[in-house]
Symmetry: C2
Subunit: 328 residues, 2 copies
């Protein structure tokens, strides 16, 4: 099943069911109006949405309309939790190597995660508004899951059962604000502005055989200013799977319905696959020639992030954003 | 106006208006059922709640009932943002002095904040459930505000206008998990379990003259296992006022309605006022005699946190919690 949230002027938008091929959509209003409502009462509401989804796929839904990603908010326009992992250890290794730092041994057994802001997400085609180009504007292409309730103390395997939906994310980062902020010791804050999400969130069954071991074994494509810069595998090199990330959160607290958990920048050891964030490209340049050459994003730059299934069809639709200044 | 959220088995509870003296309450259901709904549409809904509040205070509300704090969830049982400051620099100075570290100069001009989990708050009398006593269980008595929409780039003064409600919080911390977690560089995660909030949230006008300069000039009392351990002033020694904290969040993103912003542990230079978290008492012991003597909390321990107005009346009701193990 594929779900999206249409802009309607409200804070939480209007839930729509989207056909498998992303061509048509149908308001879910007879069943539920908001995605959080569905996550809060999944067992009751999701079978009804699934029925509508089947009808839509068969071309039998009476009030279907053409699906337009630019009318989408994030599937959850605001959420009660956004917890982002850094589950591709290759990314951590590269960034550290570039600055001559070691990766602590514990990073291979204990996931690195940060708590993100979740009150104001961006839709897939919303502008990335940043007050200054000097902040070092970067994209980060990621896979993310949305959970149901997962109780405190759950195992990684049990946590996998708590995954309700899968999507993609652009975890925008302001690189030049990061060093000073992390030096303060309390993690990211101003260096992580609003995150954008894919137009559509899918139930895990939509991934078919690509869903294995708590990972999504498909490529995530990043296209910066019209040029493909990354086609990275989101599967085998994900050091910690999503069940492990959710269980990490759940060690000392309950993880409640509607929590969004990110993979962190998708990153592969094979540099020829390209990159899912500019910081990584700059790290590689630094390792190879002593200094970074690639600049961060400028106002007017575009970024397109998409994941296709084994059949070549777009799974979640594309994130397509432009960087813009804050209106005076 | 005073608002609370009654447990009704649902995730967001039932909004009630509470009388100024905390003796009676009235369901707000004719106006709104959930507090987030009111924050989303404050200008339309709050005057109606204010009318009910006046009627209740005059003893004229027809379906009023006795207010029982133990029936309360957190005013916002889950929120789209929980951002906690460390605005009392004295707390930072003490903790650093105890471990022989300097306070960076920038800490006096740039607020220290962390992004907290907000999907699963505790009500004022809910147990503090922790999987192990070895985690170093500590309370943290704080003041917190709940905001309306505050746009990116707002000034601290403008941000003050965005404060809708004020309450108290117990930002439970697991001290023994903090060093390893902060060493990873991405801030708190497992070391910050669910936060508890006071039974009642008040509009700022309820504070009268105690509200000044973006601070609450009243004492916050902490009673641990029946013994008062702190009666700390939440006012003049708050290095950064709430408008500054909100503006800090808003530097690179919008702050949306229902964001909760905490003061951090209330802390005073005059040690005779006691402490609002055990870590601080241990820091003082370390400074005075080379090592901490006071142990952290154990299962069965109780903590009571309350703030009284200039008239001696409880403003928000009391947080009264017990520490408990995770049920097998």
């Amino acid at each position: 099943m594929k779900l999206a949230t249409y802009k309607d002027g409200s804070r939480d938008g209007q839930l729509v069911v989207v056909s498998r091929d992303l061509s048509t959509a149908h308001y879910a209003s007879g069943i539920a109006t908001r995605l959080q409502q569905v996550l809060d009462d999944w067992n009751f509401l999701s079978p009804q949405l699934e029925d509508l989804y089947q009808t839509l796929n068969h071309g039998k839904a009476r009030h279907a309309f053409a699906f337009e990603p630019q009318k989408c908010m994030a599937p959850l326009p605001r959420a009660f939790q956004w917890a982002d992992g850094s589950a591709f250890i290759n990314h951590v290794e590269l960034v550290r190597k570039a600055r001559g730092a070691e990766v602590p041994e514990s990073f291979y057994t204990d996931p690195l995660m940060y708590q993100g802001g979740s009150d104001d997400f961006l839709g897939p085609t919303d502008d990335i508004v940043v007050p200054s180009e000097d902040f070092g504007i970067d994209f980060e292409a990621e896979v993310a899951v949305i959970t149901g309730d997962v109780p405190m103390g759950c195992t990684p395997d049990a946590a996998l059962e708590g995954i309700r939906l899968v999507t993609i994310a652009n975890d925008v980062s302001l690189r030049n604000l990061i060093p000073a902020e992390l030096a303060k010791g309390f993690g990211f804050f101003q260096s992580k502005p609003a995150t954008a999400f894919g137009p559509v969130a899918c139930t895990p069954d939509e991934l078919g055989a690509a869903r294995q071991g708590g990972r999504v074994h498909l490529n995530l494509e990043s296209v910066w200013n019209g040029k493909r810069v990354g086609l990275c595998s989101a599967g085998e090199e994900m050091t910690f799977h999503f069940g492990q990330l959710i269980a990490h959160i759940g060690k000392t607290r309950n993880v409640r319905a509607g929590s969004i958990v990110g993979s962190g920048t998708v990153s592969n050891k094979d540099w020829s696959r390209g990159y899912s964030c500019i910081a990584e490209k700059r790290a590689i340049e630094t390792i190879e020639s002593g200094e970074p050459k690639t600049e961060f994003m400028r106002y007017g730059d575009t970024i397109r992030i998409e994941m296709k299934g084994a059949d070549g069809q777009s799974l979640f639709g594309a994130i397509e954003q432009k960087v813009a200044p804050l209106a005076a």
